[in-house]
């Protein structure tokens, strides 16, 4: 292949390195006004009254909008359970209450930011406080204190998996391991806080330039709330400063469009600009779900896992966001990439007054994988069996049945991925199976009396694309220009470049599919006015989905080119094999159409007197099917490992009774370059996916999944103590070690 498989320089590199690339906050238009949002700043209350008189009277204030100005006052990616603005006069019931501190109450538009902020502080709001629920167990039981009274329960999603007979199987198990796990909240902490500019374009469309992950879905949600036809709304993404799932749900999109539109209705035709501060970003967008997971697994002494019972409770926070889908993933991933004949899973998503939780790289996978891999490593210890050997005796193979009673799509490579990773990390295949000889690894020897070193292993699988029956498609249009020969190939695609490099990959795949030099391919991207719906950049799906759409469009365009059409245009909508939702009783389903497979080995050092952990080496083996751009793949692996390392040992989002105590990056700490693992080795494996474009699988999330359990396993190897909760801050580690001594 000429372009697929080559590490060409990403097309946006130069502009970004030089500071020339424009991010949403960089756009300025003549005569623009500024917007500030009044947040609730209280976790649970009914808004009794909003008085904007004093604020409106401030010179320089152009308009103030509240709930009564929102035509359809609801939104939500999966279910519309959140008011656009909370307050009286809403078009929807119960939209007069705030349910977390980041709920939005009023919009102030003024001549400049200072006046807007001043006016915001002059708005008088009368609240009637309601009891604050932050504990998921209490929220599950409560019948009186309901966040959404119209729903009748704080539990808003429940899945069941029933396969085989776990009770009978436990009675035949030689060892049973029970574990109770708790995973923490994580903040996306993308470089660029939410920002954007809204205006009415030359065709009269309400237009916003923002950062998001799915232009067409943003448009749909805006159109719904504004009660406008979708064609009257336009969404454009310029350069985007990171997303990681944190831009899948609405933050400023609807309110920016609303303010622009309402202003123009008042005859004020001025662009509106907003930039969130870091603090507004931290309280204003969702986080990674914290999970409580209770697991009970049984195995025979031959190392066959025969039963797994798991209960998962996800704290959804105040609104659903993508909780139901995240929970679906966690429900599937919590029994790992293993064939277990008897499985019983019950999972729940619950409303609380904490910040809503939603999409974040891995999408329920990391939480599920933590429980699954901890259970596997504990079983290995109890059985006296090597953890790699135990895995290889249980991993899913071609035709094996998942917990949901159906086989994986063809191209199952988890066994090869585990073997490759283990070999690289120093495991050997012997006549007794896979073994790791500690004596032969001097790097694991102690350096000082207070330091201990350990190695840990974990593996995982991650779906590619939307799951469980969610509508899935991706469109691409290719226009071939020229006369005798193709002079230019223009690719129209909506896929969002969030920093992962997808625009470069789209061009590589288009050049390959068309057989034209890559210099001739031009991309027009991320504008609902020029492209069809691509679906989101999430679920590790864009390379896979767009690649197939581009191949289809290229084929059509080339046919028309040969038929002498000028320009020759090919439009193609790719639809992957269909998936099906969980059966409500048994969970039986065909959950996904493609997967990636991953394994990681981690070496760490721990100071047993202070609890500080240093990650020495991470080996990450990923089956990506076909690396379209190996350097970008490596970037994704390293980025995911670093982000997961922050999740594992550092990032600590503190909420107390609905308040956020870590409202800035001085208290919510993410890794600096000095805190990342000393070494990350990316082992890129290419076992083609039978239906992936050029054999490619999606891979942006999977390196994230096994890191935390691999770290916890290495920590156990170093100290003999299992940590079932993280982040593994020095304090948690030290007190965990001390407790185990007592």
């Amino acid at each position: 292949m000429s372009y697929v498989g080559k590490s060409i320089t990403r097309i946006d590199a130069e502009a970004k390195v030089k500071g020339e690339a424009l991010y949403p906050g960089d756009f300025n238009l003549p005569n623009q006004a500024y917007m500030k949002i009044l947040f609730a700043n209280r976790p649970h209350a009914i808004v009794k009254r909003i008085d904007t008189a004093r604020a409106k009277a401030l010179p320089g204030v152009l308009a103030i909008f509240t709930a009564k100005d929102v035509p359809v006052n609801e939104y939500g990616l999966i279910m519309p359970d959140q008011p656009v603005l909370c307050g009286p006069g809403s078009s929807k019931p119960y939209a007069d209450r705030v349910r977390f501190i980041g709920d939005q109450v009023a919009l102030v538009i003024a001549e400049n930011e200072e006046i807007a902020a001043q006016a915001r502080d002059l708005i008088e709001v009368e609240y009637e406080d309601l009891p604050v629920l932050t504990d998921v167990h209490q929220a599950m039981e409560s019948t009186e204190n309901l966040l959404h009274p119209d729903r009748g329960s704080n539990v808003f999603c429940h899945y069941r998996i029933r396969k085989g007979d776990t009770e009978a199987a436990f009675s035949q198990a030689d060892v049973i391991v029970e574990g109770e796990y708790h995973t923490p909240v994580q903040e996306h902490a993308y470089l660029q806080p939410e920002a954007g500019i809204g205006y009415i374009d030359e065709e009269g469309r309400v237009t916003i330039v923002v950062a998001g992950q799915w232009t067409h879905e943003d448009r749909k949600q805006i159109a719904h709330a504004l009660n406008l036809p979708e064609e009257q709304v336009r969404v454009i993404y310029p350069a985007i400063g990171g997303a990681f799932g944190g831009r899948e749900d609405m933050s400023i999109q609807i309110v920016l469009a609303l303010a622009t539109w309402r202003l123009s209705q008042q005859g004020i035709n001025r662009p509106v600009k907003i930039i969130w501060s870091r603090e507004e970003s931290i309280i204003g967008h969702h986080k990674r779900h914290p999970y409580h997971i209770y697991a009970r697994w049984g195995a025979t002494k031959e190392g066959k896992v025969i039963a797994a019972e798991v209960k998962l409770i996800a704290d959804g926070g105040a609104y659903a966001y993508t909780s139901t889908k995240v929970l679906g993933n966690a429900t599937l991933m919590c029994t790992g990439p293993y064939e277990i004949p008897n499985v019983k899973v019950d999972s729940y998503a619950v409303y609380t007054n904490s910040i809503p939780n939603g999409a974040f790289r891995g999408f329920g996978g990391p939480q599920g994988a933590f429980a699954a891999e901890m259970q596997m490593n504990k079983l290995a210890e109890r059985l006296g069996m090597d953890p790699v050997e135990l895995r290889l005796r249980n991993v899913l193979r071609e035709g094996s049945l998942l917990s949901v009673g159906t086989p994986l799509p063809k191209g199952v490579s988890i066994a090869q991925v585990v073997e490759n990773c283990a070999k690289r990390a120093g495991w050997k295949q012997t006549s007794n199976g896979w073994e790791f000889d500690r004596e032969k690894h001097p790097s694991l020897k102690l350096q000082k009396s207070n330091l201990r070193r350990g190695i840990g292993f974990a593996c995982s699988f991650k779906n590619v694309g939307f799951s469980f029956g969610a509508p899935e498609q991706c469109q691409a249009t290719i226009e071939l220009r020229g006369k005798g020969e193709i002079e230019e190939a223009v690719l129209y695609h909506a896929g969002a470049e969030v920093g992962q490099g997808v625009h470069t990959v789209l061009i590589q795949m288009a050049a390959e599919a068309l057989g034209v030099p890559i210099e001739k391919v031009r991309l027009i991207a991320s504008d609902t006015a020029t492209s069809g719906d691509s679906g989101s950049v999430s679920a590790s799906r864009m390379t896979f989905m767009a690649g197939n759409a581009i191949r289809g469009a290229a084929k059509l365009a080339l046919e028309r080119w040969r038929n002498e059409e000028r320009p020759a245009v090919g439009h193609y909508q790719y639809r992957p094999p269909r998936t099906t939702p969980y059966d409500p009783e048994t969970g039986k389903s065909e959950p996904n159409f493609a997967y990636g497979y991953v394994a990681e080995a981690v070496e760490l050092e721990v100071d047993i007197e202070t609890g500080q952990i240093r990650l020495l080496n991470v080996i990450c083996a990923d089956d990506v099917g076909q690396a379209v751009n190996p350097q970008l793949v490596q970037g994704q692996i390293e980025g995911a490992v670093v982000q997961a390392a922050g999740y594992a040992i550092l990032e600590n989002f503190v909420q107390q009774n609905g308040e956020v105590l870590t409202r800035g990056l001085s208290t919510y700490l993410i890794p600096t370059v000095l805190d990342i693992p000393d070494r990350v080795e990316s082992l890129i494996l290419e076992y083609p996916d039978p239906i992936g474009p050029f054999g490619a699988r999606g891979m942006g999330e999977m390196p994230y999944l096994p890191l935390v359990p691999a770290v916890a396993s290495a920590l156990h190897d170093a100290t003999g103590v299992w940590f079932n909760e993280f982040p593994l801050t020095p304090e948690r580690v030290l007190f965990g070690l001390t407790k185990s001594e007592e």
Binding site: E113, E114, A117, E609, T610, Q612, L650, N652, V654, L661, T662, S666, T667, L669, P671, T672, V673, L674, D675, T729, P730, E731, L734, F735
Partner: protein, 290 residues
């Protein structure tokens, strides 16, 4: 957003002191501004007048002076970190500067600013306390010098009067047989506010401790010395059991709080662990082997 203020840019120390002379809390000096601009944005301080002292020549320079090292209050952390005299005579301060915030902040933040902020976590404070540093405060009425230990009062409260500037810090040249060590335990390796920091300076003769200074950050409402442990060490042979005892005494001397970074209990335990380690390291440098 920064509130509005008048910026005064004096050309000399005298001019600056004149502007400050009325002693109004609404007139604040600014050097690197790494604390003040943050505090002004958050609304903690709302000065009407800000006096830029960053470039005043009288606040610059690192020199030997009458058997002492003298550092101007306006010397930046980056300057301290690069200075040969500091490296030679006060490695304990150099170590602290190396862990101070990040390189960008170190280029702007000054040692005087770090101290007048009155933060219990001020990164240079433990080392300067352990060096027995003296702080020089200057106003239009003249200069006064006081031991740094008497300068810190409480969280964000120091002995500095609104009409005074920190013009210099001084400490004695190290005697032969001096050893020192510094450690900052933060939740990450750069750009982190310390959870506990410990600076130790020991003077020893043939393994017997002549003078000990142990100072800690982030474990009390101000940077503190563990004077009970210092006294205990004086006259003792430097050895493991003695260090253990001194570390235990240090843990008694601190009064940490629980906050978003760590619990009081963890801080107390780390005070002991890190003090013991720093004593061991400092003792090794005195040239004495057990």
């Amino acid at each position: 957003m920064l509130p509005e203020f008048d910026l005064v840019m004096p050309r000399s120390l005298n001019e600056a002191l004149q502007v400050l002379a009325a002693g109004s809390p609404e007139v604040l000096p600014i050097a690197g501004g790494t604390n003040l601009t943050v505090d002004m944005r958050s609304g903690r301080y709302e000065p009407k007048v800000v006096v830029d002292i960053e470039k005043l020549p009288e606040l610059k320079g690192i020199r030997r002076e009458n058997g002492q090292i003298c550092v101007g209050g306006g010397v930046t952390i980056a300057e301290l970190l690069k200075d040969g005299l500091v490296a030679e005579t006060a490695p304990v301060l150099k170590s602290a500067c190396a862990l101070f915030a990040n390189p960008l902040i170190r280029n702007r933040a000054t040692v005087g600013g770090n101290l007048v902020d009155g933060s219990p976590a001020a990164d240079t404070a433990p080392s300067l306390l352990a060096l027995d540093a003296e702080i020089e405060l200057t106003s239009q009425d003249g200069k006064r010098r006081l031991p740094l230990d008497e300068f810190f009062i409480h969280v964000r409260k120091t002995a500095r009067q609104p009409n005074e500037l920190v013009t210099a810090l001084r400490w004695a040249l190290p005697k032969p047989g001096t050893g020192s060590a510094f450690y900052k335990l933060g939740l990450r390796k750069a750009d982190a506010i310390s959870v506990v920091s410990v600076a130790v300076v020991l003077e020893a003769e043939k393994g017997v401790c002549r003078k000990a200074r142990i100072a800690l950050g982030s474990v009390a409402p101000r940077p503190v010395r563990a004077k009970n442990a210092e006294e205990f060490l004086t006259g003792k042979l430097l050895k493991k059991e003695v260090f253990e005892e001194a570390a235990a005494l240090t843990a008694q001397a601190v009064s940490p709080i629980s906050d978003v970074r760590a619990s009081a209990e963890y801080r107390r335990r780390m005070s002991a662990v890190l003090t013991r380690r720093m004593l061991e390291q400092a003792a090794e440098q005195t040239g004495w082997k057990e």
